[in-house]
Subunit: 212 residues, 2 copies
Amino acid sequence: MSVRHGLLALLERGPRYGYQLRAEFERTTGGTWPLNIGQVYTTLARLERDGLVRALPESDGGQRPYEITPAGRAELALWFASPIERGDRPRDELAIKLALALTTPGVDVRSVVQTQRTATMRTLQELTRLKGSDPGGREDLAWRLVLESMVFQAEAEVRWLDHCEASLARFAAKSTSPSPAAGEPDHGPQSTVPEPEESILDEPTETTRGTR
Amino acid sequence: MSVRHGLLALLERGPRYGYQLRAEFERTTGGTWPLNIGQVYTTLARLERDGLVRALPESDGGQRPYEITPAGRAELALWFASPIERGDRPRDELAIKLALALTTPGVDVRSVVQTQRTATMRTLQELTRLKGSDPGGREDLAWRLVLESMVFQAEAEVRWLDHCEASLARFAAKSTSPSPAAGEPDHGPQSTVPEPEESILDEPTETTRGTR
DNA sequence: CGACACATGTAACACGTTACATGATTTG
DNA sequence: CAAATCATGTAACGTGTTACATGTGTCG
């Protein structure tokens, strides 16, 4: 719902038409997130259908501006007032990938981790490079924060990858013979067996963090 | 593309049918990400259409298992071998929200930040609570890492929010009194989550890794 | 029997992306 | 004039979600 609400927020500043909205959206995020123009129009159509915006008469230049309605303002206020919940976010593809890599035969998890780490570090360098020219205007503040958001996320990813590597090493050290024989090709029909495996005690290491 | 490749990875272990795939997917991620069953079937249909999986004869119980094809194995290997690029990920709704809040009239950015911070901290506590029961099996390793991935992301988010608040304060101070105060107290009102404000790029020891 | 878990599917919709078609205006 | 930019839209597809329809098997 980010684009939907984003357009609504831009219309709160005053009537805008499609092309203008895209330009303004990309400008406040510093061009980091290019916005598809087709989606602007379809989203505007849906917003109008839902009564959150209203089309204004077409101007001479062929522009078709929209304005926000009271219902739209209410919706926008609600968006700003309520936090974004964890469940609303998409699945993290990287986490899925690593979790599945762990139990997929013939996959070198360590190299998956390393490959990702290299790529993310490259991204990180690119981001810090972008952060170079940086005056202190209010609009620049916006896209600088957006950039830094990506930096923080990327840094967290690298830390997590390092943590994964450490966990993998610890696990490998614990099971001296990596003999669990990967997946069992066996499986009678209709057995969704939970497959209860051995449970080794895990010594609590530095994994107790930031809960306060 | 996460579900598509996820199912492919599960099928690499051996033939599975739809229901089994969902159960297995949710199990390896610890039920953190419930997988819609309808999507499993449509995704399987698309995978079959693309020649990455092949349907096996229906068993007695009415199950319709699929097996991975060589093309599917190739695709999967490619997935594991290539990093997930930044551009492939969706726009961060929170960053958009804050960037737009900055230039939208009548929006109290500080309270938006605070609301989100509270919500994320609650999520963080919930996550660490979930991490309680934790044996050291290989499958448990997977979902523990998934959980910790979310923890790392949430921590990064809180740090970023604190950083935003500090930036806002700095900006407000600059606007009200045009004379830039040189030595301002760096951090915002509260920093419950420790860890660096500095980028890990500043630490030369870390950056030299992984570039093989 | 009836409720529930298992199992497969379809339909409809929201959102996002890419590509294409169509004009108007500006500019080299 | 030709090309680029501005501006609006449509079509098709992928992905994800929700809801519904349809069966079978099991168990109290």
